[in-house]
Symmetry: C2
Subunit: 217 residues, 2 copies
């Protein structure tokens, strides 16, 4: 599949590399694509890895990832452009993190969230929020932790788009359990989980953890 | 132990009943204590169950629970009074829930939380936030779910107070795993978890669930 990335930091590179190795045709979009030459060099001639502007990445993809820092996401998506994104599924993995005076918080929370902001700004795009509760290593290799016995969450207004993305995540990376939380406003829950995750990180001493819902059956 | 409750709704009654059955001397504090006669009637003459005003409950307890609705907690604790609470451990289990136009949110979140508000208003009290990620049934009977293989979280500025509360929760109710998230500001994480919990409730269809941190060892 042709996949475009808006954002080319650690998360975009990790997801992109994994998808290229799975045989997909990936274009990482960046404000300064020339900075990605080192990333590109790891792939051979026959592999379909490329870089470009946000707009070029959005035009390239049948499926788009938003892997920008959350506070820069709306600007980056506007640069990518409504025309290039129209009608496509946008997998939003971004977290709207604010670091102010050494304290971590969210730039939007509680009565709104980044996923909703993006969906409102791009009503013609199918925004699906997921993967935003684990680090990039676990995103692409959930089976490396407890044989995959932990949960991912998914939010979005378009049921068909969510269903497709759940299928991709299971097929590509081996995710076993993906809980459908509801419409895009339910992404408040996974974005706000950052406030707990950041403290769990401190308590366990590393970022290789995930959440599991333990429920009566 | 003499235990006082500020708040006498479902959570206060469930915790209070459980502690009375364990042999503790519990006073439930309410704005209208006479409404608790039905609750009181379940206990026999020899059992140390009583009701009273917020102030009477706070004076009674060597240990205090805040089990009021979160949006009413500060007012209720002020009615209980600084003198009655001074120097004591206050186990804060409240969630600052707002229902506005049918939508659930928190009255404080992200850069502050109820636990911190209480600690600032009562600097002479040892505020320990815990139990606020599960429903009242699971609070007092964690072993009823997956043999207790799920996590509770705890936040507070006073290490000794947290240590004591962890001991109580293990001894009284059988909690097996309690993760110390840090100072009282880490209670933002568990209070904000409500945004996820409310959607997980919708997804699993019942409130009998809890969270587990799945972590590389």
């Amino acid at each position: 599949m042709k996949i475009g990335f808006i954002g080319s930091g650690n998360v975009g590179q990790t997801l992109g590399s994994s998808l290229i190795k799975l045989g997909h045709d990936v274009k990482l979009g960046a404000r300064s694509p020339e900075k990605l030459n080192t990333w590109l060099e790891q792939f051979g001639q026959g592999e379909r890895a490329s870089v470009g502007s946000f707009q070029e990445a959005a035009e390239h993809g049948e499926l788009i990832f938003n892997a920008t820092p959350g506070t820069a996401s709306l600007d980056a998506l506007l640069v990518a452009g409504h025309n290039a994104l129209r009608g496509k599924i946008l997998i939003d993995v971004a977290l709207p993190l604010n670091f102010l005076n050494g304290e971590l918080s969210l730039s939007v929370a509680n009565t709104d969230c980044l996923g909703e902001q993006i969906q409102r700004a791009f009503p013609e795009v199918k925004v699906v929020k997921t993967l935003n509760t684990v680090n990039s290593t676990l995103m692409v290799n959930p089976l490396s932790l407890a044989d995959g016995q932990h949960d991912l969450f998914i939010s979005g207004n378009d049921t068909d788009a969510k269903s497709k993305v759940m299928g991709y995540l299971k097929e590509w990376f081996g995710w076993r359990s993906i809980i459908d939380l509801g419409d895009i406003s339910s992404a408040r829950g996974t974005e706000m989980l950052l406030a707990l995750s950041s403290r769990v990180y401190g308590a366990v001493g590393h970022p290789n953890f995930s959440f599991k819902i333990v429920s009566k059956t």
